[in-house]
């Protein structure tokens, strides 16, 4: 366990010193600040726009962080041969995978926290500067705690994407891992369509195949609750728990698969 923690701490340290990460976070925070100006252009919709843009920025930039750092976790170590030094230490291969994953999840958690704080800061400023009469028109308060539910599910979704990136990174190059992870991310958002595919096509075989693919690929749509949160639709605890449970199971399966492949791999 100590080894996993040490590797995770190392990944975190390496990540926070990466210029790419700073640029992404800075850009996301700037976008949130800019959303305040954009909100001014649309009378009465300002808070909604800021929330929408803020959550979307958190998701998109979180995705970039998850993918661009996730794909390098293992494949860059192999490519640069630093894996030789690492695996010659008293480190089991599964500990390396778990440590790498935990380190990136920690990085994501810190970054999402920073982005969430930036979002709340913009919303708080808006709430502070507007009159009570104007605030009456808002569907939800500016600093609505429900935003945290959306942010939490974005974080869980990014944990899943990180596991996907790590999985691909155990057996393919960084570029291929990035392409596959982004591909799976896009497909994952339209996965629900596959479920109803058998009602659309005539061929039973194609319908069954679509069903298999539906269960095999990650379903990422349920993690996107931005619209509900912005429009004051409640999200139940049961929904949050079920979605998180699904992510947990999927992440577990991906990590097991990554460990299985990585444990048998030769590092030529």
């Amino acid at each position: 366990m100590t080894v996993v923690v040490r590797i995770a701490a190392h990944v975190f340290k390496e990540s926070v010193r990466d210029k790419v990460l700073y640029n992404l976070v800075l850009f996301a925070v700037m976008l949130m600040a800019a959303s305040y100006l954009i909100g001014q252009l649309s009378a009465g919709q300002d808070v909604k726009i800021i929330k929408d843009l803020g959550l979307a920025a958190t998701q998109v930039f979180g995705l970039f962080i998850a993918v661009f750092i996730g794909i390098g976790l293992v494949s860059k170590e192999v490519e640069r041969r630093s894996i030789y030094s690492l695996l010659s230490k008293p480190v089991r291969r599964h500990e390396l995978i778990l440590g790498k994953y935990a380190g990136l999840v920690l990085t994501l958690a810190v970054n999402i926290t920073v982005m969430a704080m930036a979002l709340y800061l913009v919303l708080g400023y808006m709430s502070w500067t507007e009159t009570e009469e104007f605030k009456q028109n808002w569907e939800t308060p500016a600093t609505d705690p429900a935003l945290l539910q959306a942010l939490f599910l974005i974080f869980i979704q990014l944990m899943l994407v990180t596991a996907v990136a790590l999985f691909f990174s155990t057996f393919s190059s960084p570029i291929l891992s990035a392409v596959l992870t982004f591909g799976l991310y896009v497909v994952g958002h339209f996965n629900t369509d596959l479920r109803n595919f058998e009602n659309i096509v005539d061929s039973q075989a194609v319908g069954i195949l679509a069903g298999v693919v539906y269960y095999l690929l990650p379903n990422l749509a349920p993690f996107d609750v931005k619209a509900q949160v912005v429009h004051a639709q409640p999200i139940s605890f049961g929904y949050m728990a079920l979605t998180s449970g699904y992510a947990g199971a999927y992440i577990g399966a991906l990590l097991l698969a990554a460990i299985f492949i990585f444990s048998r791999r030769d590092f030529k």
Partner: protein
């Protein structure tokens, strides 16, 4: 097998080559070798001989096709054994955003060293490899030679009993090479078991107690430097006598050395001293010294590698008959 620091038993590794029709190519062919505790073994061979493959197998970076190996009496990959082993990979590369001391702290932590212990050990090692002044510089700004030194320090962070060094002198300037050579000598004097791969034979001659020579994945020769059958190339004969005329009449080329009728004669290998010495005595020469001239380790190395290459006839496929030179060290 018991009692050896390192033991290889018919260690074999095949790689698949080709995408559409993969075929196995043998990188290491039934290598059996034992290394005693406290021994320094130079693992020699040209590029592609299987040196790095062997070390990677011992570090379990790759898995053997057949055969096995033990380090300190335990199968390779054993976690407790890894705590007692150090490894420098060929052309090491580390993390760009860490400094040298942070890297050593990290690896020290993986060995279970506490923070203060890891810091103390890192400072000592960076000083030993000549990087004390550069310890807080990020590794991305290090030259190839500096990374090599960091790699050496990293390989010793756990104060290992067994050290594997893959081309330790690679990328180093003459000063760096001397420093690292002295470092290896001090490790040897501490009684550690060291296996280092190299194709720089002067390093092997200076540091090792035994050499193992690899060619095309096969162990072709192994033994103590004193036991290897170096070819005799001739003799250096020092005599005193009247003049060079008599030497010339015996078919010898002589060079006069200093004063007092002292000559140095290069005796060719076909003129055996048993036949020559009585003739010189009869001509009135006194024998001062007679020293055989042997081939160098480099000549020996080239001779074995070339001979193996010609017998293997360039074939390196699986059906090749192995020529395994199995050897255990003198105990």
């Amino acid at each position: 097998m018991a009692g050896y620091a390192i033991s290889l038993q018919e260690l074999t590794k095949d790689y698949s080559v080709g995408f559409w029709r993969p075929r196995p190519v043998r990188a290491l062919n039934k290598v059996s070798l034992d290394v005693n505790t406290g021994e320094v073994l130079a693992y020699l061979g040209p590029n592609g001989a299987g040196k790095t493959t062997t070390l990677k197998l011992l570090m379990q970076l790759i898995y053997p096709t057949s055969g096995g190996a033990e380090i300190l009496g335990r199968p390779v990959g054993d976690i407790d054994t890894k705590r007692r082993v150090g490894y420098l990979p060929e052309l090491p590369y580390f993390y760009d955003n860490l400094t040298a001391e942070e890297l050593l702290w990290y690896f020290g932590g993986l060995f279970g060293l506490s923070g203060p212990d890891a810091k103390r050990r890192a400072a000592t090692l960076l000083d030993r490899v000549g990087l004390e002044a550069e310890r807080r510089r990020r590794l991305r700004n290090y030259s190839k030679g500096m990374l090599q030194r960091v790699g050496l320090a990293e390989a010793l962070i756990n104060d290992p009993e067994v050290v594997f060094l893959d081309e330790p002198m690679s990328g180093l300037d003459p000063v760096g090479r001397r420093q690292i050579r002295e470092l290896i000598q001090s490790l040897r004097d501490d009684g550690r078991t060291i296996v280092f791969s190299s194709h720089i034979l002067s390093d092997a001659e200076a540091l090792c107690t035994r050499v193992a020579i690899m060619a095309q994945g096969t162990l072709v020769a192994v033994g103590h430097l004193s036991d290897l059958e170096f070819k005799t190339l001739g003799w250096e004969l020092v005599v005193t006598g009247s003049d060079t005329q008599a030497l010339t009449s015996l078919g010898l080329d002589a060079v006069k050395q200093g004063q007092g009728g002292r000559f140095v004669v290069d005796v060719p290998v076909h003129r055996h001293p048993d036949e020559l010495l009585p003739l010189l005595a009869s001509e009135g020469f006194s024998i001062v010294a007679l020293t055989p001239i042997h081939e160098s380790l480099e000549d020996y190395f080239v001779r074995h590698v070339t001979r193996h290459a010609s017998t293997a006839a360039g074939s390196h496929e699986l059906n090749e008959t192995p020529q395994t030179a199995t050897s255990s060290p003198k105990r």
